[in-house]
């Protein structure tokens, strides 16, 4: 009894799904696909020439670059973007010592409570504080930015496919609408308040180009010239660090773990061979 029922159920599901297939295939074959500018002119992200120091299983942080990237964040990005999961104490990972971190934290005003009156006020930051948001709340952020809330940057490079490359490409990807695009899609336009960028999914981005001129950030002596590309690469590296400060530690833990496991597995294999050697006397394939 169970088999005839099963066969009916099986045929039922298959026929219904094949009906869906036939209608879907018919639509697909007859309907012309509307070409879309977002598909044809979107570019895949790419990193700076030579890649990042942290790329690959052996990659490590380029501490000098992270410090430059932090400077770019602080002087440019921080005007609109928060970094809420990073605390000042975390800056030790960028090679700053305790005194420098204290001074750095104190240069920020964070929300606090007046110890005498209990009123909400601002106080200088402490190493245990987190980077303060540039806006008091989301409504203020939206109001100041044409209704597009600037996202928090702490995890940005993990929240996008190929995140570090995406950040670099986006920062260096602004430009005029190419002639071919205008030719192929005369309707396409960048609305006022948006900016054309071929690395952004729909090509029109609410963020104004943040890095517009070489030397916009003055690096300390001994650092490479702050071209737009250099600053973009530096801040992309910095945001890779903010997204996962333990990334290099993780890989460096991984190598000895892998080494141990491979050694242990070889031993396990030899043990297995030893144990089985007397189990199958005269086995065909021995």
């Amino acid at each position: 009894m169970i088999r005839p029922i099963a066969i009916l159920v099986g045929l039922g599901f298959s026929i219904v799904v094949l009906l869906s297939f036939v209608t879907g295939a018919y639509t697909w074959a007859t309907e012309e696909v509307q070409p879309a500018a977002e598909y044809e002119f979107h570019l895949a992200p790419h990193g700076p020439e030579g890649g990042f120091a942290h790329d690959g299983p052996f990659g490590t942080w380029d501490v000098a670059q992270l410090q430059r990237g932090y400077q770019v964040y602080k002087e440019v990005c921080a005007a609109c973007h928060s970094l809420k999961y990073v605390a000042f104490r975390d800056l030790a990972g960028l090679g700053y010592d305790e005194g420098q971190i204290k001074a750095e934290a104190a240069s920020y005003q964070v929300p606090g409570i007046d110890p005498n009156t209990g009123e909400a006020t601002f106080r200088p930051g402490l190493p245990t504080d987190y980077f303060p948001s540039p806006y008091p709340n989301a409504v203020a952020a939206a109001a100041a930015n044409n209704n597009a809330i600037p996202p928090d940057l702490s995890l940005m490079t993990k929240a996008r496919h190929h995140g570090p490359e995406y950040v670099y490409s986006l920062l260096t990807g602004y430009g005029p609408i190419p002639a071919e695009l205008e030719q192929e899609f005369p309707e396409f336009e960048t609305p006022t308040g948006l900016y054309f960028n071929r690395y952004f999914p729909n090509l029109n981005l609410a963020m104004a180009p943040p890095l517009t001129t070489d030397g916009q950030v003055s690096y300390a002596e001994g650092n490479p010239a702050p071209t737009i590309r250099q600053m973009s690469a530096d801040v992309a590296a910095f945001l890779t660090w903010t997204a996962e400060p333990k990334m290099v530690e993780r890989r460096q833990t991984g190598w000895p773990v892998l080494g141990f496991l491979i050694f242990a597995t070889i031993l396990a294999f030899l043990a297995k061979k030893q144990v089985w050697s007397n189990a199958t006397p005269g086995r065909k394939d021995d």
Binding site: I7, G10, F13, S14, F21, G24, A159, T253, A271, R283
Partner: protein, 430 residues
């Protein structure tokens, strides 16, 4: 129960003797996974995955309990708590990545374990109960994994929860009240997050309990083997310890190397970047996809695009659940007396050229956007999937001439079995 030649536990030192008299726990372990459990001597590496699944269950419970110590199921802080684990908790990043990738590896070994069962028809008598409990375990695992993925409260957590619970809304009449009841509201929020956390903590222990039943049921007939011929004599078996502990130890080493490579070098490869964006009910991700281990069933869900008597969405939901529930009936659908696919030429073709490619297509298309040609591909694969289990499997044995089976496991391993030659045991091989 066991074979009559199973070794008996004889405690050597006085402490174990005392323990064996008062509470024979060592005896239980000895008979379950020790020298007291005779196992067919011809098991290949496909028989490793049960033990490996057990290992990953333990790993998930251990890492999960530690993570729960630092997590809070409150929609306003959950996302930040996960970041706190990643940044501030000692070795928190290792615990979290091991737990997230551990779930994936648990599913990898379980899928291999299940497909081992399909190929060697491990579901057939006398092991029906082992199989039924296994399907229950798989369903429990899926529920646990689904609820676990909601806990980090990222965009995919939220929208995945919304889409999956929304499926219940497709059920006529009771659908919407049921969805609201499941979520404790109209959309996933604190109520849903809290109950998912509670159940996500509870279910692994339920799974552990059912695993014990699964092993218990297995030990009644004993393990199956690649020939599908039942154990006939002592020369067909070896004791589980040390033979299979050694073999499983090697298999565990290999899978741990792969696991460590993922955890330490590609920890987010199997995840989705959108889950590093905090849940936002006002912003829908471009493509909502579940975790990879749900992709085949998600592809089946989305394959039904046409209303036919019932709405397309309801067809999809029915088919998705049916896709797993039909496994419960396999022991009675497949009536070939031969167990192992190794001796079933026609079944083997359907398995290798039908089921495996169909599953591969469903896996791929379930993770792809709901566009052509992925939808068309998953429709063909879905049709084959149901035909395979419900039509081909019940019918194939009528048209198939199985290849000759070895007399015994011993003969399969050694090329000859003295007993077969002497005619000592003339029970026909099954």
């Amino acid at each position: 129960m066991s074979f009559p030649w199973a070794k008996e536990y004889t405690p050597a030192n006085p402490v174990m003797k005392f323990l064996d008299e008062k509470l024979p726990l060592p005896r239980l372990v000895y008979n379950a996974v020790g020298a007291g459990y005779p196992v067919p001597r011809n098991l290949n590496y496909m028989w490793n995955f049960g033990v490996l699944a057990g290992f990953f269950l333990v790993l998930q419970i251990v890492t999960g309990v530690v993570l729960a110590m630092h997590y809070a199921a409150d929609a306003t802080v959950a996302f930040g708590k996960v970041e706190h684990i990643m940044r501030d908790v000692n070795w928190g990043w290792l615990m979290r990545y091991a737990h997230a990738n551990g779930a994936s590896f648990f599913f990898i070994v379980i899928y291999l374990h299940i497909f081992r069962g399909f190929y060697y028809s491990s579901y057939k008598a006398p092991r029906e109960m082992v199989w039924l409990l296994g399907v229950v375990l798989f369903l429990l695992m899926m529920a646990t994994a689904f609820m676990g993925y909601v806990l980090p409260w990222g965009q995919m957590s939220f929208w995945g929860a919304k889409v999956i619970t929304g499926l219940f809304g497709a059920i006529p009449v009771v659908g919407e009240p049921l969805q609201v009841w499941l979520l404790g509201g109209y959309a996933p929020d604190d109520a849903a997050l809290n109950r998912f956390f509670s159940l996500h903590f509870l279910l692994p222990f339920v799974i552990a309990g059912v695993v014990i039943l699964h092993i218990w049921a297995l030990h009644i007939p004993g393990s199956s083997n690649p020939t599908g011929v039942e154990v006939k004599s002592e020369s067909d078996t070896v004791p589980f310890h040390p033979y299979y502990t050694a073999k499983d130890g090697f298999g565990l080493g290999v899978i741990l190397i792969l696991f460590a490579a993922m955890v330490f070098f590609l920890p987010n490869y199997l995840g989705h970047p959108d889950n590093y964006i905090e849940a936002n009910p006002l912003s829908t991700p471009a493509h909502i996809v579940p975790e990879w281990y749900f992709w085949p069933f998600y592809a089946i869900l989305r394959a039904f695009t046409m209303d036919f008597i019932l709405p397309a969405k309801l067809w999809g939901v029915l088919a998705m659940f049916a896709a797993i529930l039909i496994w419960f009936f396999l022991p009675w659908l497949d009536r070939s007396p031969v167990r192992s696919g190794h001796y079933r030429p026609l079944f083997r073709k359907f398995f290798g050229f039908g089921l495996i490619p169909a599953m591969a297509v469903l896996f791929y298309c379930g993770g792809a956007p709901a566009e052509e040609p992925y939808v068309m591909l998953s429709q063909i694969a879905t049709a084959y999937y149901f035909l395979h289990f419900l039509v081909i499997l019940p019918l194939v044995s009528s048209f198939e001439k199985p290849e000759p089976l070895p007399y015994s496991i011993t003969e399969a391993v050694l090329g000859s079995d003295k007993k077969a030659v002497l005619g000592e045991n003339t029970t026909p091989a099954t």
